[in-house]
Every structure is written in C-alpha cells, then in structure tokens.
Symmetry: C2
Subunit: 442 residues, 2 copies
Amino acid sequence: MQRTYIKDLREKAGSEATVEGYINGRRDHGKLCFLDIRDLSGSVQTIVLPQNADAHVASKDLRPEWTVSITGQVNKRPERMVNKNEQMGDIEFEAKSITVLSRAQELPFAVDAELNIDTKLDNLPFALRSKRSRAIFKVQSVVTKTFRDFLTSQGFTEFQAPKLIGDDAEGGANSFDVKYFKHTAHLAQSPQLYKQIMVGVLERVFAIGNVYRAEKHSTTRHLNEYTSMDFEMGFIKDHRDIMRVENDYFIALEKALRETCVAEFATLGAEIPTVPQDIPTMTLREAQALISKETGVDCTHELDLEPEHERWLCKWSKEKHNSDFVFVTHYPTAKRPFYTHRDETDPTMTKSFDLLFRGVEITSGGQRNHDYDVLVSSMKDKGLNPDKFGYYLQAFKYGMPPHGGLGIGLERVTAKLLNIENVKEATLFPRDINRIDVLLSK
Amino acid sequence: MQRTYIKDLREKAGSEATVEGYINGRRDHGKLCFLDIRDLSGSVQTIVLPQNADAHVASKDLRPEWTVSITGQVNKRPERMVNKNEQMGDIEFEAKSITVLSRAQELPFAVDAELNIDTKLDNLPFALRSKRSRAIFKVQSVVTKTFRDFLTSQGFTEFQAPKLIGDDAEGGANSFDVKYFKHTAHLAQSPQLYKQIMVGVLERVFAIGNVYRAEKHSTTRHLNEYTSMDFEMGFIKDHRDIMRVENDYFIALEKALRETCVAEFATLGAEIPTVPQDIPTMTLREAQALISKETGVDCTHELDLEPEHERWLCKWSKEKHNSDFVFVTHYPTAKRPFYTHRDETDPTMTKSFDLLFRGVEITSGGQRNHDYDVLVSSMKDKGLNPDKFGYYLQAFKYGMPPHGGLGIGLERVTAKLLNIENVKEATLFPRDINRIDVLLSK
C-alpha cells in the first residue's frame, strides 16, 4: 500500500493506511502494546491488539529507533479520548501488520533526553533526532527559504559565492589558510567583494553560504564556520533602502513562521516576534545619549555599543515601541570596513547600520562606496594596498551604481528567534577550536 | 519619481517614467542621440531630442557603463517601427532629464565583445556583464531555484552542510588541506556523509553548496571548487525511487525554463530540452551490449562507460527515444563508494545509477547501505578503517531506514543545458590549478 504521511492520516479515518517511520517509544501492557511512531510530518499513537496476532508478536521485539512499515486501521477517537496536546491526538492507528525495515542497537540515552552540550556534540548524529533539534532546524530552513522567496519576489537573483579565495587582501589574523597546490589560499570571511562585483552584473543579488572566522575562542557565541545570508542591490538612494528591504524580509518571515512553525516555537517555549511595519531607528550617537541619560553610564564617546548596551537598547525598544528589533545607524568611519560609504554631512560617520534583535546584533549593512577614486583612497586610509584589490576594483573602474547590502548570521538569528543560549545548538554541525564533529586530538 | 523597471515600461505608455540603469550603447547623430539603457529586467532604446536641452547637453558626455537615472516620456512605436527582435522593440523612451549616477573609465573592450577564455577570466568582474554571461547565470539561478522549490513541495527540508571537515576518512589524494589552528582539516569533497546523517533526523533533506576537488588538471571539464545540488531521502524501496524524484525534478525544470528563460536560451543559441515522463533506462551491462553490437567495439567487460560511449549512448537515446537524457543503472560494486547498496540478486553490482545528459554524466546516485553491519563490512572491503568513521556510523548504529540520494553538478548541468563547451564559462568565479580570480604567481 502507498505510504501515508502521519499528518495526513486524518483523511484516512475509517479506512486502512500504511505508515512508515521510527519507533519513538513503546509501552508494553502485555495484551496491549502502544507504539509511538514518528515520521517527517508528525507522530501518532499506534495500538497493537492481541487479535492482530502477527503484529502483536512482531511488536514484542520492537525497540526505540527501529524503523518500521505498519499497515493498519485509522480510527477517529471519541471526543472524551482526544489528546488535545498532540498534533494527531484525535486519531488512533491500529496496527494490523508490522514490517521491520531496520534495527537499532541499544541507545546511549532516550532520543528526547536533556543533555549537556558536550554529551550532545559527542553524540550529535543521534542527538539531532530529538524533537527539540528537529524543531530548531525546521525553523532554520524556514528562515532561509523565506529569505530566498522574499528576495526573489523583489527581483533579486541568487548566485554561488566562492569560499576559496586567493590573496587575503582584507588582512589575515582571522582567516584560515588552505594549501592550494603550490600556493596558499584562504577561506572567505564573507562574500562581500563578490556580491559587490555581482551588483555590476545582475544588479540585485543574494547568496547563502558558509563563511569562516579563525577565532580562537570556544564560547556560546562563536562559530568557526557559519552561514551568512547576504544580499546586495544597486541603484539605491542610501542605506535606508537596504533597511527597508530587511524590515520587509522580517515581516515576511514573521508571516511564514506563524503559518508553518507554531508547533516548533511551542516546543522551544519561544515566542514568534512581532515585526513592526517600521522598526525603530536611531543613530549610534542618539542611542548613546539615551543610554547615558537613562543608565547614568557615559558611553557617548565610544565607537560602538557594548554588548550590555545592545541588550539595554533592545529592552528599551521592547518596552517603548513593543519591538524586539531596533536599527542603529551611522557608525564611525573608524569602525567600519573600507567599502563603507561615508555620510556626506559628517564624513567621520558612515551610512551604515546594525540591526539588533533581542539583545544582540544580527546584521551589519549599509551603503557602499561605488566611486573608484573614493574606494581607492578609502583603502589607503585603512592601510590597505589597492594593488592587491585589482580584480575587485575592475568592477568600479568600469561603472558601478550607488549600492548597498547586508549580511545576516543564520545560526545567530535562529538562536535568538528560539531563545537558545548557545549558538552551537542552532548549528547542525558546529566547528570550534577544539572540535570538528569529534574532539580534535591535543 | 519612483523608478520603473524597463520590462514594465509598456504599462506607462503615454506618460512619464524614470528609468535607472547602465549606458549599454550610445549613437550620436548630432541633433539626435540614441542611448541603449539596460537594467536588471531588460534594455530599451532611448532617444534624446534637441528640444530637451538639458538632457541633450548631458547626453554628449555619456559613455558605455556609466550609470544614469533618466526621466522621460514612454511612447508606443507605430506598428511599422516596431523592432520585433527586441524585448522592448514596441516602446521608445524619450529622455527629458538625465542624471549621471556614476562614471566609468575607458573600457578594455565592448561589454558584449567575443573574448577568448583567458582574456575573459582576466577581466571577469567586467566581462560577466555581457548579455551572454547574464543569460547563463540567470538560467543557473533557475536551475537551483527549481531544485529547491520542487524538493520543498515533496516534503524535503534544506540544511547547511559543513565544508570544513576533520579526518579525511574517504582518502585524501583529491582533498585540500586546511590549517585549522594546531590541526589539519580538509575541504569536503561532497556532503554525502552529512546528508545521510540528516536522513535520520529529517528524513528528506537537500543541500546546495560548494564542494572541492584538488584535481591538478586545468581542462574544459575540471573545476577545483564547484556547486553540488544534493538530496537524500529515507523509506525508499530502492534506487528507482531516487530516479523518479530526479526525473520529476527535470520535468519541473523544463517547465520553469520555458516560462522564464526562453530569451536566455535564444541568446546562447541553445534549445530547452524536452524531458520525457519516463527517461529511458538501462543497466550498464545492457548499455555495453548495445554499444558493442552497434559500434563493433567490445566494452562489455569494462567497469564503467568511456566518455565516447557516454556520448554515443546519448546520441542513441536522442535518436531512438527523442530524449536528451538516459539513466544507466547497476554499476559494479568495485567502482562505487563503500556506502553504495549492493543488488541482492547480483552482489557484484550496485543499486546505483548515473544520469547522462547530452553526452556527459551529470548525476551519480543510488540506494545506500542502511544496515550498520553491512556498512562496516563494506568499508573494510574497500580498505577503509571503520574506526575513522565512528561519528558517521552513530547514525546507523541507532537506526536508519532504507534510503538513497544523488548529487548534481550545477555548473556542468548549466553548461550542457546551454551548449557551453568550457564549464568555466558556466562558473561565476572559477578556480583551477593556475588561477583564483587572478593567475597565481609561479
């Protein structure tokens, strides 16, 4: 019989169906045996009665994480028996025949056991099967899918940015070396230079892919390989065009999450954020003045916000504007990379922004330098050698419109959406200084 | 005035609009000046008349690849003046005012000049702007978008596969070394092991991302960094379930290309392939018998098809079945990786397949070993050490359903779709032994 996904069993009430999935749990009451079966779409309680003799015998051997194909009767439960906390709580599946597809050895722990992070990472291929982990990565896939769908609807084209780069022109302390035949290549820290080149080609582009930072810390915030969602667009007026696109993306994301991920947020005990039509915005100097006035700590001469001040500002934005998000604009030129466009009214400041969400920065973006001469002089100001950027500079030599863009850290935004403390839990296969899948030998 | 994309100008016929884009060409007839303006959506002929004095003066300075904002009158051309070869040939745009957004230096060659591959690669950030290149990467984005959209509609979830891997357990001749703090890591040659692990988590998964082969050749077929479109799915009967999904993907792709890329195929002089409902299928042994019979060359004892025989088979499939595609199944166990499932009726053969398209293999796939003991013994048969695969093997130790999947080389399939001879032309930023963006120093 053709397989039915568990979420579709309701349509088969009163008739037979075949379900395929994992034994999520088994409770043997002697005569009666209850199996909890899970597939990619959900889980369902399955009852095995003694009168279905073959199935009843087979059920005695079953153990968690065995995979099975079960044909049986789909019954609607009487109203008083409905389990309202379960997706399929109004359905009971009565097994008539059971085929074992694969067996499992004894498990190191129950699939939904609470684990400390090291135990989890040591057992990740198994631990990722927990309801919690599956919810996290379902949500993460909706974050990327919505990014793609929304930007495509706005005329953006996806491209594949290279990860293997040559001269590490931006400076190398944080870059990994790759032995590339007789040469040394590097792993890209961002697709920045390529997406700007692509503005000259396709005008509005985006890329989702891995980027690399050789950070020597192993903390709850650091990853050495993470996923960056980037876009870049031409013919903008200034950085506010970029912020508008990002604001609209998060509005689209809220809608997608409410449509498809309510159960997953419930599993994590997290709340889907309400995204305002216009996310509150202030300049860095305005934010610092506010923080100084309200907290009594003078930060008005700092070049950036301290983590505690980012948290304070988000709390303020939530209380004052009922927004989990707040844009901070106009960071000092001294703190932003060479490609950042200066503010014409105050060249010590840039037309740049960060987006803060639930206490942390999840995006950096802004308008870029599009004028060849300005770009070259900006490199020199930063102590960079323009000769090393000859390839990139071609794009500007031969005509580049005013443009800008941003990058969003996928794992970090996933973690903040779901109130996950350690970003590694929002990363499928996290790499840090001590671990690539397994602990690295000392 | 709000910008109008060129493709939407028709809706503004009889009124004013603002167009922003590149000067694609300029023909100065003294009194009259014609500008060809291109944006991400198309191009339009723009006329500058002497009576629009400011625009007329401004037009004298304009040069190719300058970016401009032009406000003007949209006119429908009289029937006899319509240029049927142009997307916007029924429209003329009359400039009233011209604002220069950015300038360009003198170009090394015209944007649509025909170039040899080395000149093109040396000047890639500019050369990618040619109509031909833009068409190639538009088509490529439709190939990936359709892969995502189709698989999502079939219950697949996207995941981010790591590119940075630890022990290079599959054997290292073709792998790049990465200096990872005090250790040596590697760049992934495929997401194979991770996507199998993910079958245990989300059952149906896909990933699109870069993979790496340290091939020392620089040919028209080799890339050291390319993009692999991978999927993997659980609860299959055998490899034919995977072939069915791939066949249906290519049917969806044909539809998407006919809806969105007719002009791009015309630019390349290529034909959108007709994908049969059931792509012709034969076993390797059947294919070899056919080739031997028809060509007189006995290849019936070979473990694989020679490139010339792949071409012959595709030609045969086209003539006999009017199909640009042909599946070849059941490659010898000796030629396939350790994770490949053997055919129960003949264990010297595997439940694997290649998809050939227009003369070359674009996919390898098949059913995988899901049984822990079988997998371990298969590793040993191949001379691999199961201890090095402990992490991966957890997924099998704790229950894995029958499953399979495939990988499609994005750049290769793009090249074959568009009749491009050198796969580097279907790669945005190709890397080979001699070049990462620029030529590597000797």
